[in-house]
Symmetry: C2
Subunit: 361 residues, 2 copies
Amino acid sequence: MITGHGGNKRKLAEKLGCALEEIIDMSSNLNPLGPPEIIESFICENVMKIRSLPEPDAASMRAGFARCHGMDENRVVAGNGTTWFIYILPFALGSKKALIAGPTYSDYRDACFMYHTDVEHCLATPENGFQPKADAISRLAAKADTVFLCNPDNPTGALMSKDKIEYLLKKHQSTLFIVDESYLPFVENAEDLSFVSETGYENLIVLSSMSKIYRIPGLRTGFLTGDPKIVEKIMAFYQPWSVNALAQAVIEHIFDHPEAIEPFFKKTRAYIRAERQRFMESLRGVSGLELFDSTTCFILARLKDGLSSGEFCERIGQHRVLIRDCSNFMGLSDQYVRFSLKKRDANEHLSALVRKALGHE
Amino acid sequence: MITGHGGNKRKLAEKLGCALEEIIDMSSNLNPLGPPEIIESFICENVMKIRSLPEPDAASMRAGFARCHGMDENRVVAGNGTTWFIYILPFALGSKKALIAGPTYSDYRDACFMYHTDVEHCLATPENGFQPKADAISRLAAKADTVFLCNPDNPTGALMSKDKIEYLLKKHQSTLFIVDESYLPFVENAEDLSFVSETGYENLIVLSSMSKIYRIPGLRTGFLTGDPKIVEKIMAFYQPWSVNALAQAVIEHIFDHPEAIEPFFKKTRAYIRAERQRFMESLRGVSGLELFDSTTCFILARLKDGLSSGEFCERIGQHRVLIRDCSNFMGLSDQYVRFSLKKRDANEHLSALVRKALGHE
């Protein structure tokens, strides 16, 4: 395992000598409105499911996901978190040369390293707000057998339009594109932008995280969808009982109640949009800080007056608020931090702390 | 994933048109006294842990296991069930030629197949009650880089003594032995027979399942222990957040309360020994059936009058009792079935059904 993952809440609590619960974690990209209330009581009502093995291939939750997205079950795999897919894909696909569109989540690269897959990066730049350039990706995709795209991207929040991705899919039909839509459910009109239900492309894999939108990262569960031939290839490397019984029960329950999903998504999107606007607005014109436009639940920021991300995070951390130091993202530097939006009072509190850390109050 | 795993409760319920809960599952090797009462209420009290990511490397539960077994943390890996280890080991160890002492759990072979590791079997025979022969294993181990031993064995229930395993470990020091102790906690004096705390051998890996003894297979959690150099090798292929947050919390809680573990183990062992004796006794002299001596919580049986395991399981299944058809174990045939002991009334019920299925009542 490659260490250096995101915000370590436990570490900050130890450093400050406070309880874990006292830390406000604005480093992790989770739905501030979640988990939906029903989930935790549902787990308690179904806790006896730990006494039996779960379904070996999580068939029922796969069927639920397929039903909800109007697709065949043989296009769906259920995993022990999206991370599991990321780490099995280069091996299961036999990837020799991967292209990663970044700056992005470092686990794509780490997974490739694990299997000695060659990696190239196509890095978007701050000059155009980290917007991924399809032409630049296309040039490099021609030499790769596998391309990783995080859409919208983590940590930049930039979104690639559907037509740009389709352009790539059509142009490079012998290259497999892995589109990670973990943060798409937070975006307006996500359904129109998503490739989950799309069946026209044989060179496309889509990753859907349940952790972020439902705020259940501790349960470990996510989905992969793709052409049945690709799914078969991945299932050849599937380990029985990968997804625990409580996760299977929760996800089955969620997809058995589609009438509850849509309003929950709608409410979340409206909330995130409003909070993002308020937060950006509250820091408009503050010198020493540049905020990048985001389409999702977190915002990338650049520190401009020589203050390092480490020092900045420490200043914020003193107030028991954890944000993400982005210095270890390939294509970023110690000028960058990421703020994940939470409930309004936390967001307002963070905004005030940011001003203070920059010497404005 | 290779299909054909053990008893499918759901399938039997569908066939009989009854509810899943009406099936008595005597096909899965789980503690009839578990889970300890405290576990399920503990999960409900800690259910909010699903809202955050678990520890990436499950450090706290590793530390708990290490503390309880009086060993260093750097000798311990925590996984998403023991199965996860079985499926990662041939790859992480770079195994080219594996030896499997059988008849045994088919996932060792399936895992080797996944990574194109050559497999040879050393099969014990019914003539000596499926007792593994150290000399026969030794002859074949000389040609292997990796040896799988399930101790006690599933499905035969046969136990290999510690000195026989030590003989193999000393004789073949460049061969890595993977000893799966999943069913050892059910055995009398398990602590004296276990290699978990043993630190003298660099060519030894031990697998410890939490699923069976605590009856929490739905939670997905297990441990691997070995020399720090081997552990490092495996951790290089470790996926962050493999073990879900509720499993981590439960296991931490168990090892934080060692005073509860010993009495629970003691009670379980006494119960299993008594039930095994009663069950064997109740079927003594019944023609058409041979029961093999077992040291653990399940019993292998051979059908002797031409009745196939499929037909026999069906006759038992009609009464909503699921047992394990062992025809798909390499080294067994459609003459074999496995009975897993449950509570006394279920065991007595099964004993009567066995007589009936054999035409004795």
